[in-house]
Symmetry: C4
Subunit: 253 residues, 4 copies
Amino acid sequence: MASAGRTTKSPRLPPADRDLVDMLVIANRVLFDHDVVDAFGHVSVRHDRDLTKFLMARHLAPGFVAARDIVTFDLDANAVANPAKRYYSERFIHSEIYKRRPDVVAVVHCHAPPLIPFGATRTPLQPVYHMSAYLGAGTPVFDIRDAAGMTDMLIRTPALGAALAETLGDKPLVLMRGHGATIVGAGIPQAVYRAIYARLNATLQMDTLRLGTPIYLAREEAMRAAASLDGSLERAWSLWADTARAKMKGRRA
Amino acid sequence: MASAGRTTKSPRLPPADRDLVDMLVIANRVLFDHDVVDAFGHVSVRHDRDLTKFLMARHLAPGFVAARDIVTFDLDANAVANPAKRYYSERFIHSEIYKRRPDVVAVVHCHAPPLIPFGATRTPLQPVYHMSAYLGAGTPVFDIRDAAGMTDMLIRTPALGAALAETLGDKPLVLMRGHGATIVGAGIPQAVYRAIYARLNATLQMDTLRLGTPIYLAREEAMRAAASLDGSLERAWSLWADTARAKMKGRRA
Amino acid sequence: MASAGRTTKSPRLPPADRDLVDMLVIANRVLFDHDVVDAFGHVSVRHDRDLTKFLMARHLAPGFVAARDIVTFDLDANAVANPAKRYYSERFIHSEIYKRRPDVVAVVHCHAPPLIPFGATRTPLQPVYHMSAYLGAGTPVFDIRDAAGMTDMLIRTPALGAALAETLGDKPLVLMRGHGATIVGAGIPQAVYRAIYARLNATLQMDTLRLGTPIYLAREEAMRAAASLDGSLERAWSLWADTARAKMKGRRA
Amino acid sequence: MASAGRTTKSPRLPPADRDLVDMLVIANRVLFDHDVVDAFGHVSVRHDRDLTKFLMARHLAPGFVAARDIVTFDLDANAVANPAKRYYSERFIHSEIYKRRPDVVAVVHCHAPPLIPFGATRTPLQPVYHMSAYLGAGTPVFDIRDAAGMTDMLIRTPALGAALAETLGDKPLVLMRGHGATIVGAGIPQAVYRAIYARLNATLQMDTLRLGTPIYLAREEAMRAAASLDGSLERAWSLWADTARAKMKGRRA
């Protein structure tokens, strides 16, 4: 499935910006530090010079990912630069979403524990506070059983990736029954931010439902708050990235 | 909105005590270490030599704040010393409370997760033990929708700050529906202490409500216990500040 | 209330064993590391050479306690060696228990969060597994309101200490409504062990009650399991003490 | 009960592979790092050159285990190489399972808190997501009271070990009422993986049951997902082992 060699020097595929690769590496660590991913899960970013390609680590735990592990894939999830022995079997989650969503620049796939109950019941995930206001846009649930009957639950094919992308539609997040969630963003900081606060909101919403009748953000409140928060992403990203960099350095030292 | 330059040498605005600035920096770190604030949230203190001014960090994650980031604001939330490029959009929470509450010397604004369910339901936050006894004074809930209809949930204007301060009244804490909480104190240690134990009490109260019928502190017990605890603030503050200082040092090293 | 000077050289009060003092210091750190105590709470041990005395830190957060902070008290809670400026106001918890319970060698007083709901409701704390089997002996609840009406919730006097000790009776633990718990043991390792697993059991019992109808340990199972576990205390204590010592060393370095 | 000396040089008992011993040491640390074991609990592996023997630490907290502490036992739980002063009293859990289950190469026994409520109620542990899909094979509950009436809850004899192994049957996990769980695998990474995700699933299932009506993995989904996950064990094991090794090194330094 991987291409037969390095093609990074091809005139048709310019190398991705180094800072983008670095940001993707840091995103892996930030998601790990915030318990969004553990040994499993992955994050990708669209290639900055070729919108028909995306970058993602080879088959590796996110807490381990370094720049040398970043592979370039095309929108059929074929490796086209820096190929490796093995890739995430679910890379079609990413490729099929990039294919259908030109607005999406980054994709996070995770099994963050607090999100699982919302995929496994009919209780919709809704924003209890402004930090996760973006959930007000809707949080569809994908059940792989509807798409393909009995499976191993994994998005192993382009067809399953397409079915997931269809359920995602134009939303920022799709829950996956018995599996996890996939979150998209207009850039790495936004996708990471959304993943971190989706997880937090899930815990808070469970607590709120046990405490009384929740007053969720109204749709208009949610849309306005989400837009405002987007203006402060940098404050959060710089803290998270700096902390992750300090840890990476400490480990190497 | 920021003043047009440094005015710290103006005869009309004496510089704040260095120890007070240091304490404010440490308060940012302590609140971060105790999961009261994350990349968001802020803490301020009234100026020690000019009661019509207060000190607060520029637009920055609390875990990052250093002495050089502390800006002096007047009670209309205009920067009057050590101006920066950007300020917290919700600085009016602080200015309007200082305006109305001469007894208040420090203000914490946070989105501490366990407090969110109490803002999002009609279940009142009440003290389940003596450590959070001060909650017995009352814990009003501010709903921005009542004050201004559909918003982005943020206290972006003096008018919204005033509405919040009105709901706070003479209490130590106000919950903010779909947003978080604001806690005040007669000094930094008290405001920080109150924020940390409000968060703990919220978790405990949810647990207690699930376990049986809670016996809350009686109002008289609460008032007496709160007064007693105030006499031991220093024991807690010295532990927290020392731990935060050790971490800051470790990071720099 | 403190004696008028050092009396450690008095022929009538031999100094406590250095290892015992060291163990008490470590117990403070272990309880802090396991979230049994935070900035508040205290642990004491009966004097090894004079059973009418006990050792406990001066008024200080447990995470800070060092050998130099250990004060010797008599059974009226008067400092009789290494006096300090200030003592824990609740030292009568310790003195009155030592007075009535010759079998008790160590006492832990804490506000461990998961124990609070069991003091604040009528649901009895019961052992859900063998690790906390000792709870099968009974877990009385002390309500200070029954003893003294409206108070600040603290055990500030010998009379309140005596009332608490009466409720404790011959049990290993007494819950204190709206306050915390006091746990006793035949030595520091046992008292610390019991405190750590009482806290864990509280969380587990709350989870179990939400999940279904709990099958608690039968009384005979509990008594037998508690006796067996006492034979393995050393395995746990050595791990905890070693970890705490490594942290203390790391901090000093 | 221990043999009368070292017999590792006996021609009849070849030494275990050094890498296997190292992996067992690391497994102890990994299980400790993931809160599967605390000061209690144990993990064993079948001898690679003699299937009638297994390796396990002497009586020691898992967080302390080093290669020198690994003892070789026969299937009656007698120490036959590197004997020590004291062994885990529950080593019969391991010996009786290895006796009956030729497919089992590693065994984990733990008291992981979230698993306790499932042993203490009649609510069956079931997989809420693919990560713990292996639970779909069935999760029997062993009640020692059925096997032996009133006990100290411990598997102290071959007969009790046999009764536990009978309840385990051909399953990957057996819950133990009022005690914990025992998990088996075809190797150390699989047994460790299963233990870590059994614990996670328990928390998630409790959350899911409180949120709504759970849609568990169908049996076929579970079997297929478990097989797929087995193909990615290495990704998780390498992360966990590397992290544990870094911690061990940091401690020594």
